[in-house]
């Protein structure tokens, strides 16, 4: 009996060890609900590479996880613009040699030489979009195109607000609300920023990124800070919401597929990036996640809904969006402190 048990353990261990060392694998660290399963299946069918994926819910938590020891177990991740720069500065990205990516020419010229990754040495565009908020029009029918909805809400919306649990975007939006620059070193401005978000927090019901869509659809929240495509999905799923383009400004971002340092399957990662640079593949992501690709030749492949969606087409009088800035270490430490004080 005992010998048989030991044999079972040994067999199971051998099995699990075998599973870990198989070849032709790709390990993705991705945002949640951001890539259609059919597309991953297609990639596997085309290349024979088996895909595993873990998900995260903010740029900051991805960084924390990689720093906490998962570096070396993923091949690619999908950080936003400012996070690409941080990861590059931290030496967490591997360099893609010139000519390694067959489809690199498909990148739209405006996204080819970007501040956060000049010359696209480590990354390719994935999707870009904006971060603002959506308001349930059955609960509130006043003017929503102001960041006061989040940071100084009208009585009807108090306690019914969900905000994204993402430090970079939330503090950037708050800075726009106050009209102060990002990466400010001015003590009064920083103190004002800290006080504003702390006071606003009393009117917020929750910090929730993964559930940002669900709380709007279920009606648990009447206002949700949200990414434009996720907001569009909430609207399609029946939430009576309108996406706002606040006059004070809002955040724009681009998510990028990066090649991680110490990638266990570097070759698969390159194949995956090439795969995502093909218009019909990345168009599938856009149609699924409702954001915009940075690849030429995608437009004809997009669904009609996407082309006309209000989340994709800001009104003519909407201001331009702002990217989240990367501050120097000393300044960043102050923003980190503001965030910690907010979250505690």
């Amino acid at each position: 009996m005992t010998t048989r048990r030991i044999a079972t353990v040994a067999a199971a261990l051998a099995l699990t060890a075998g599973m870990a060392s198989a070849e032709g694998k790709l390990s993705i660290f991705h945002w949640f609900e951001y890539i259609p399963k059919e597309l991953l299946d297609k990639f596997t069918a085309e290349t024979g590479i088996e895909v595993t994926m873990d998900t995260y819910d903010s740029n900051e938590s991805m960084l924390a996880s990689l720093k906490g020891g998962t570096m070396g177990s993923y091949d690619v991740a999908v950080p936003g613009d400012y996070m690409v720069q941080i990861m590059r500065d931290e030496g967490m990205l591997d360099t893609i040699a010139e000519g390694e990516l067959t489809n690199k020419a498909n990148i739209e010229p405006q996204w080819l030489d970007v501040d956060f990754d000049p010359g696209r040495m480590h990354s390719i565009p994935y999707q870009w979009g904006s971060t603002s908020f959506a308001v349930n029009r059955e609960v509130f029918d006043g003017d929503i195109n102001t960041t006061s909805i989040i940071f100084d809400p009208p009585e009807a919306l108090k306690g019914k607000i969900n905000v994204l649990d993402t430090q970079g975007e939330l503090l950037a939006l708050a800075s726009l609300h106050l009209g102060i620059p990002q990466c400010s070193t001015d003590r009064d401005q920083l103190r004002l920023l800290s006080e504003t978000v702390n006071a606003a927090k009393d009117n917020w019901a929750s910090f929730n990124s993964d559930g940002a869509k669900d709380v709007l659809v279920s009606g648990d929240a009447a206002v949700g800070m949200i990414w434009n495509g996720f907001g569009a999905k909430a609207r399609v799923e029946g939430a009576p919401i309108e996406y706002a383009y606040p006059k004070e400004g809002y955040v724009v971002w681009m998510d990028n597929v990066v090649l991680l340092k110490d990638a266990p399957n570097r070759e698969s990662a390159i194949k995956f990036m090439d795969f995502l640079l093909e218009p019909e593949n990345i168009a599938q992501v856009s149609n699924f996640a409702q954001y915009t690709a940075g690849i030429t030749g995608v437009t004809p492949l997009l669904s009609e809904d996407l082309k006309t969606s209000p989340e994709q087409n800001p009104p003519a009088d909407a201001p331009a969006g702002t990217f989240v800035k990367v501050c120097d270490q000393q300044t960043q430490a102050l923003y980190d402190a503001i965030w910690t004080r907010l979250k505690k």
């Binding site: 903010s58 720093k67 649990d165 927090k201 910090f207 648990d220």
Partner: protein
């Protein structure tokens, strides 16, 4: 004849092999639990690297941050930091209240079951045990489903005309409380049941003969006698409630943090501050060990009496 046989306590048939028999236990628990806990203590005194990760340099920063507030810019004279102590206080308060509620519901239940005839008793006991074995995550999710604004409880109350608008329970301290109470209720029932089952009803009869009412008997005789069961049940509810993660995370939203959520955020969340997380975990462990120590002391004292 029977008296010559050694009692079980000093039976030593396997004495020559005992070191080998114990070795796997010592090795596994020692190496994969005791050593890690000691390492965690070391970690709580390390320095956090700017973007996450640790530097192997001694630092009191984590404990400093836990107990002292030096202002937004870190240059004000230190005041006592109430935030984390507050989270501990809230956790202790929530856990204490959950324990009390479990006791109020659990004691009558345990008593009722233990006083049934043997055949039905095991069925009642079985009914109470089953939910205990159902995945805690699933039970917490069920509770979340139940108490949403548009969930079955609110729907029912509105259909009955008790409420006009949904009563918000989710993401409140009340929801966390309910979740803890619901999660750990069986932990309270079982030890009290075991104590009541051993209770000698001759004591109750004697009290009745002396014209004590049932409630007086309960208060003056029964409760002191079954006290060890009550204390054991309270500890089994209080300790896991104190470090609970699922109930505050799923039912409380990110605004009603308890210690478990605070620790989790340092390791799995965006905070990425392992030394601070280790320090908080160390404080939690110390509190729990103190509670267990007081319990053990009271047990030995009760045993000596």
């Amino acid at each position: 004849m029977a008296g010559q046989l050694p009692s079980n306590d000093d039976s030593a048939a396997f004495a020559p092999a005992r070191v080998w028999l114990m070795l796997p236990t010592w090795a596994l628990i020692g190496f994969f639990l005791l050593l890690p806990v000691l390492l965690m203590l070391v970690y709580s005194f390390l320095t956090k690297e700017f973007r996450g990760g640790v530097i192997w340099e001694f630092s009191l920063e984590s404990y400093d941050r836990f107990f002292l507030d030096r202002g937004l810019f870190g240059d004000e004279p230190p005041k006592i930091e109430w935030t984390y102590i507050g989270i501990f206080w809230r956790s202790a308060w929530q856990a204490g209240l959950a324990t009390l509620l479990c006791l109020l519901v659990g004691f009558p239940t345990a008593w009722f079951i233990a006083t049934r005839p043997p055949q039905t008793r095991s069925i009642w006991l079985f009914l109470v045990t089953i939910p205990y074995w159902v995945n805690l995550l699933i039970r917490t999710v069920s509770m979340k489903f139940l108490i949403r604004d548009n969930g079955p409880v609110n729907e029912l109350l509105m259909a009955l005309g008790v409420l006009d608008a949904p009563f918000t329970m989710i993401n409140t301290n009340f929801a966390v409380q309910l979740g803890l109470f619901y999660s750990y209720l069986p932990f309270m029932v079982l030890p009290i049941y075991a104590a009541v089952e051993r209770y000698n009803f001759a004591l109750t009869e004697a009290a009745a003969d002396l014209y004590a009412t049932r409630w007086v008997t309960l208060w003056l005789i029964v409760i002191p006698v079954v006290r060890p069961g009550i204390i054991a049940g309270s500890i089994l509810v209080f300790v896991p409630s104190l470090g609970a993660f699922l109930a505050p995370d799923l039912l409380g939203g990110a605004k009603n943090w308890m210690i478990g959520s605070l620790i989790e955020d340092q390791f799995k969340g965006a905070a990425g501050n392992w030394p601070f997380g280790a320090a908080v975990a160390m404080v939690l462990l110390s509190v729990v060990l103190v509670v267990l120590f007081i319990y053990a002391r009271s047990q030995t004292r009760a045993g000596a009496r």
